[in-house]
């Protein structure tokens, strides 16, 4: 922020007199400006520090493995072979499954809450959804293993594979401890997050838009489809991205459910691994080089998250610019 130029003699006298009279306020203004600038840059400094130190730790592995660190499919720490493609793949697959399941359900829940539910039901349901968002992920993980796995994940995985087993992505032998199982539990975890945001997004649609649609003879469904959804699209992308971000980084629930296989598998009903999960599971036993490799996975995960976020921003920005 820049104070108005003092030397501007062309200004009427009264104005500069006015500015001088408010000296104290302007000092405060400057202090405030500095404070915010410092705290803002502090965030950048911390971020840069993190990136530098982690990259530095992982550097020996990056240099010894080269590009095969991210393209290699063999993870054999005992022999010093570090290829992390199976984990990148697992992270992307489980997160994709989660988002594909969670987004329609979340949109449905929030549409119901904002547009359809009788008003006495809105409060309790919205509150329950918000509570679900606050449940720690280890609870979701344990519940997933002990309740959801026998009750739903295992039978569902087997059913998928017996019906669609001719497709490579559903090929058996099927197990609930798989990309699919982890994806479903991730979906349950991110539904509250996405729907809490989507609810706010729908609520923010101006009443005028709704009335305009109704006045043209729209039914409630047509009103939602034509007035509410289009207005909400950028917000929904944002909500999805927040859920995706959570899914990409989720560690413990995925570690418990993904099946812990370092082999890459095209079938989502077979066990795999994710980047966050392998870091958590192998950090304790790893030797020095192994730890460097695990930190390297962290760096790659960070890079992927940033890339996806930037893509999302670009997309939202284009959506908004279009109108």
């Amino acid at each position: 922020m820049r104070a108005p130029a003092q030397s501007n003699d062309a200004r009427p006298l009264s104005l500069s007199a006015l500015a001088r009279g408010r000296g104290f306020g302007r000092t405060l203004d400057r202090v405030f400006g500095w404070t915010t600038a410092v705290s803002g840059s502090l965030v950048l400094v911390i971020l840069a520090f993190m990136v530098l130190t982690t990259t530095n730790t992982a550097l020996p592995v990056f240099t010894s493995e080269g590009i095969s660190f991210v393209t290699g499919t063999e993870w054999l720490p005992s022999r010093g072979v570090y290829g992390i493609l199976p984990f990148i793949y697992g992270t992307l697959v489980t997160s994709t499954i989660a988002v594909v399941i969670a987004v329609p359900i979340s949109v449905g829940v929030s549409l119901y809450l904002t547009e359809l539910a009788p008003s006495w039901m809105k409060g309790p349901i919205a509150y329950a959804v918000d509570l679900l968002a606050a449940v720690p992920s280890v609870v979701y993980g344990l519940w997933g293993v002990f309740v959801l796995l026998p009750l739903f994940l295992q039978p569902a995985a087997e059913a998928l594979s017996s019906v669609f087993g001719f497709l490579p992505i559903f090929k058996g032998p099927a197990t609930g401890l798989s990309y699919f199982g982890a994806g479903v539990v991730l979906a349950i975890m991110i539904i509250p997050i996405i729907s809490a945001l989507a609810r706010e997004v729908f609520k923010a649609v101006p009443a005028d838009d709704r009335l305009a649609a109704y006045a043209l003879g729209a039914t409630r469904w047509e009103m939602i489809r034509e007035a509410v959804i289009p207005r909400s699209r950028p917000g929904l992308v944002g909500a999805t991205m927040l859920g995706l971000g959570r899914a990409l980084g989720e560690t413990i629930a995925v570690a418990l459910l993904v099946g812990s296989s370092t082999k890459i598998s095209a079938s989502i009903v077979q066990p795999g691994y994710s980047m966050a999960a392998i870091i958590a599971n192998q950090f304790q036993e790893a030797d020095e080089q192994g730890i460097r490799a695990l930190v390297g996975i962290g760096v790659v995960l960070f890079a992927i998250t940033i890339l996806i976020n930037m893509a999302a921003r670009l997309f939202v920005w284009r959506l908004v610019a279009e109108r």
């Binding site: 008003s119 101006p206 005028d208 838009d209 709704r210 009335l211 305009a212 649609a213 109704y214 006045a215 043209l216 003879g217 729209a218 039914t219 047509e222 034509e226 007035a227 289009p230 207005r231 279009e322 109108r323």
Partner: protein, 260 residues
């Protein structure tokens, strides 16, 4: 005398049990502009929303009495409000185009109504009738939100016309507009009057006097004991009469600017 478009009988409206409009009876005639005037809060918007069942959308609103539309009660048990609103269009106080292209705004109504004919032609015709075509014909795919307030309001009128309604209700359509845009809307209403019946709510007495054929004056009645207040219809008749020789003292005070 022609058959009335609307015949409103003993209309009472309340919000959450509080009476807002009491015992309104009036007839609205085709191909005329009927103005609703009265002080703020007397129930003008409430009244006009009864004519296309927009009050159904207000939680807690309750409507009693009859609103006969071409001899059929639109509050009848077997009447679908969606059908009512397709016949009776509405333009709001604040211009409220959708965040879509100009074309898609006008095409909205026809599309949801399953229009089968030549949509381009209908859109052009509606925009021409709303006196907006020349200004927008080269940017049909541009966002409607980029138009000026007055253009947006005419777009909203075009959008309402595109469903080929029978009546157009306007709730203070020019109150957010500058004088030039207002005159354009008023001229437009004179044009539209050839084909449609128009009911307009306005705060602007000169506007009512200029554009309307009939004027209804609503006024707030206060019950001193319970301090509750509701709107009543004080006087209704040809606009000239209401403004030059009103029968009721309250109308005279209001149109001469003595209160309100």
């Amino acid at each position: 005398m022609t058959e009335p478009v609307f015949s409103v009988n003993h209309l009472n409206v309340s919000y959450g049990g509080n009476l807002a409009l009491k015992d309104v009876c009036l007839d609205i005639h085709p191909r005329e502009i009927t103005a609703i005037i009265g002080p703020s809060g007397c129930g003008k918007s409430t009244f006009i929303r009864c004519l296309n069942r927009m009050n159904d959308l207000v939680p807690g609103a309750q409507v009693e009495g009859q609103v006969m539309y071409h001899g059929e009660d639109i509050y009848g048990a077997d009447i679908d409000p969606v059908t009512v609103r397709r016949r009776i269009g509405m333009v709001f106080q604040r211009p409220n185009p959708f965040p879509k292209s100009i074309y898609d705004n006008v095409a909205f109504g026809p599309r949801i109504n399953g229009f089968k004919g030549d949509l381009d032609e209908l859109v052009e015709r509606s925009l021409r009738r709303a006196a907006l075509w020349d200004e927008v014909k080269n940017k049909m795919r541009k966002s409607a939100l980029a138009l000026s307030g007055g253009q947006q309001q005419r777009l909203c009128i075009a959008r309402a016309i595109a469903v080929e309604p029978d009546v157009i209700l306007m709730d203070e359509p020019a109150s957010a507009l500058d004088p030039i845009a207002t005159v354009r809307i008023e001229d437009l209403m004179q044009e539209l009057k050839q084909e449609y019946s128009i009911v307009i709510v306005t705060h602007n007495m000169q506007q009512a006097a200029r554009v309307s054929d009939k004027t209804a004056f609503l006024y707030t009645e206060v019950d001193e004991e319970s301090m509750s207040r509701w709107g009543i219809l004080v006087e209704y008749g040809p606009t000239g009469g209401i403004f030059t020789k009103p029968l009721d003292k309250r109308t005279e005070d209001y149109v001469s600017g003595r209160f309100g």
